[in-house]
């Protein structure tokens, strides 16, 4: 057997090992549903011997045989709520948030790797293919260092639960017992796959072997996504329980417990959120390396890396508000009161902060793109129009962040003539806000289109018509979005609520049709000059860091909002929180806590970046040592 054949055999074996790892939890899980399925049969056999107790599912309204204990009725004391001389909830909040940050990062980055590695494989330009491959490798290297930290934080989280909330954690584990071991095995599978994928990079860098390697990344991401879906089912259960009766007793159908009312919207929202967050963090890493670079070559590489990470992150950021909208819609459908608490009551002001953060994300993205046009010859023609985009963005942003009601003193209330401002109060409703955010996203799409054609001039015979059509299409998209926002004021609420769908469709039409049209027009276009990577303003890199920080802050905020909407329930309407901390924090305290979490995450991830840079510094030393005076190492070599 030749070395190439041996490598192929080993690669196929490694791929099979990964598939086995993926299937292992599924195989192990087969007896679990069987227990639930057998239970009725076994009980039927013993019908005469023992009385079977039945319960009704609180959500699905189906009948099932009670197989679990009721949710414990906790009391404030060392038995149910042991504590240190500190607020237990804050400790748990910290542990949970840090684990989530790192978990999101290590789940998102392999998806990027998969996309970039695939781009490298299908790209015909060999130099570019190697650059993509190197970039994907850089990404996974960062992810690998963060992976151990994620596992450590996961351990800390479990210990925090066991130590501070034993009764609640015991109940949750009893409900999810049929899938707990699957989660653990998935984690083993994820680790195994990640290490094979990482360490097999050099051995499988060409031809058929590269495709095997790429297939490994697909399996890695399937495992990672399933892991996340399982974790999401816990929070879904806590917010909108199902599969249990009104006393919280498990009714034997684990699928009902997992597939709660909010599980699917949470899954979609979290996948998109993780990707946007992961893109932001990698972009910030690239920005940090760009700012620390000593050579033009390094600056060019990290500038390019930052752009790719930012583009991927923003690609997932654009549909994120729509996923959030779906989640909120499902929350309202599940419990209207929960939706009102979120958007119109106790937590409404946090949504104003969220709107501010979303606006910052889009403003930073646009600012980065305008700055990035500075490294292209030919893009100067767009510079004079940027001020109009700034104006449109600011108008959309100001409408988007306008609160419906103001917190005021009685004197201020009297002076203003009511809780709503006579003019600005009109902008604090969903109709206007939907218009505001869609205008912001459409403008971001326009900035991207300008960036993509910055240094190119179309040579097609119908180029003039294409340009005019594009301009007119964008113009009428804005008109339609604003028209629908205004129209919403004149029709009843039950009709108005539907207008958000055509508004979203208008924005997405710009995204898909204009990107497609632009790509067709720019195929074979005349280049005014190459993109001069590395020749970008330092300000743009701070915009990337701003982008990542805003992502991190918003993630912390949204996690807090989602969690605190349960109010004084551990599991909504099933298990009450009787600890002394079953109240909602003030907005100020929550903001400080979120800021602390963000700060801690960034300090710790800077440490991870620093560790990564130590490994990178070692490469040239060993390369020089093994091949003194030899040819430069190819970009794809690790």
């Amino acid at each position: 057997m030749g070395p190439v054949t041996r490598k192929k055999v080993f690669s196929i074996m490694a791929l099979c090992a990964m598939i086995s790892l993926l299937l292992l939890p599924i195989i192990v899980s087969i007896p679990s549903p069987a227990i639930g399925a057998d239970a009725p049969a076994a009980d039927a056999a013993k019908k005469d011997e023992a009385k079977v107790e039945k319960g009704r599912d609180v959500y699905y309204k189906t009948e099932g045989i009670v197989v679990g204990a009721p949710a414990p009725k906790t009391t404030d004391g060392p038995k149910d709520y042991p504590r240190y001389n500190f607020e237990s909830r804050v400790l748990l909040w910290f542990a949970n948030q840090q684990h989530l940050y790192y978990g999101s990062f290590v789940l998102a980055v392999p998806i990027f790797c998969m996309i970039i590695e695939f781009m490298g494989v299908v790209t015909k330009d060999k130099a570019l293919a190697k650059k993509y491959d190197q970039l994907a490798y850089d990404f996974i290297k960062i992810s690998l260092t963060a992976y151990s930290l994620t596992a450590i934080l996961g351990g800390i989280l479990i210990f925090t639960f066991l130590t501070l909330y034993p009764a609640f954690f015991g109940y949750l584990s009893s409900i999810f017992r049929p899938v707990m071991h699957i989660y653990a095995l998935m984690f083993v599978a994820e680790s195994g796959t990640l290490y094979i994928y990482y360490y097999g990079w050099d051995k499988m860098k060409e031809g058929f072997l590269k495709w095997i390697h790429l297939s490994m990344s697909v399996i890695l991401n399937i495992i990672g996504t399933l892991l996340m879906f399982l974790a999401n089912s816990w929070i879904g259960f806590m917010m909108s329980p199902a599969g249990v009766d009104e006393q919280g007793r498990f009714l034997g159908n684990i699928w009902h417990v997992i597939h709660t009312a909010l599980w699917n919207p949470l899954n979609v929202h979290r996948i998109l959120g993780n990707m946007a967050f992961g893109g932001g963090v990698v972009a910030a890493y690239a920005a940090y390396r760009f700012l620390a670079s000593k050579t033009d070559e390094d600056r060019a590489h990290y500038d390019w890396m930052g752009y790719i990470a930012m583009a991927l992150g923003v690609a997932f950021l654009i549909p994120l508000p729509f996923a959030g909208y779906w989640l909120m819609r499902e929350v309202y459908a599940y419990r209207q009161q929960m939706g009102i608490t979120l958007m119109g009551g106790l937590l409404a002001w946090l949504f104003i902060i969220q709107a501010t953060m979303i606006g910052i994300l889009f403003l930073s993205t646009n600012y980065y793109l305008w700055q990035a046009m500075g490294r292209m010859r030919g893009a100067e023609k767009y510079q004079r129009y940027i001020k109009y985009l700034v104006f449109i963005l600011c108008c959309g942003y100001l409408v988007f962040i306008t609160p419906h009601t103001m917190v005021m003193t009685p004197a201020e209330l009297k002076a203003m003539g009511g809780q709503q401002h006579p003019v600005l109060g009109n902008y604090g409703v969903m109709s206007a806000k939907n218009g505001g955010i869609n205008v912001i996203i459409t403008t971001t799409v326009l900035s991207f289109v300008w960036y993509m054609r910055g240094n190119k001039v179309s040579t097609l015979s119908w180029a003039k018509f294409g340009n005019i059509f594009m301009g007119v299409f964008f113009f009428f998209a804005y008109v339609n979005i604003i028209w629908l926002a205004i129209y919403g004021y004149y029709i009843p609420a039950n009709v108005r609520v539907g207008l958000s769908v055509p508004q979203v469709a208008t924005t997405l039409s710009c995204l898909f049709f204009m990107f497609a049209l632009n790509s067709v027009m720019m195929k074979g276009a005349k280049q005014m000059g190459p993109i001069e990577w590395g020749k970008i303003s330092v300000r743009s890199q701070y915009a990337l860091i701003m982008l990542a920080t805003a992502f991190t802050w918003m993630m912390g905020l949204m996690g807090y909002i989602r969690s605190s909407v349960r109010l004084f329930w551990h599991v909504n309407e099933i298990m009450r929180d009787n600890s002394p901390w079953a109240y909602t924090h003030t907005v100020g305290f929550a903001a400080n806590m979120i800021s602390f979490n963000v700060l801690f995450f960034w300090v710790s991830i800077l440490f991870v970046f620093w560790l990564g840079s130590l490994a990178a510094k070692k490469v040239p030393v060993s390369a020089t040592a093994t091949a003194p005076g030899g040819a430069p190492q190819p970009a794809g070599s690790h």
Partner: protein
């Protein structure tokens, strides 16, 4: 194609296409939700 490169014709064609498209989007996406897009005008 040469006629379409005439700016006046290009603008007219683009306006007709864009306005028709967005009106159809508004109408059908409201209709799909069982809602009447033309509510105010019919009233």
């Amino acid at each position: 194609m040469s006629a379409l490169n005439n700016p006046v014709i290009a603008v007219i064609v683009s306006v007709v296409v864009a306005v028709t498209y967005f009106t159809l989007v508004d109408h059908f996406l409201m209709d799909m939700q069982g809602l009447d897009y033309w509510y105010l005008f019919r009233k």
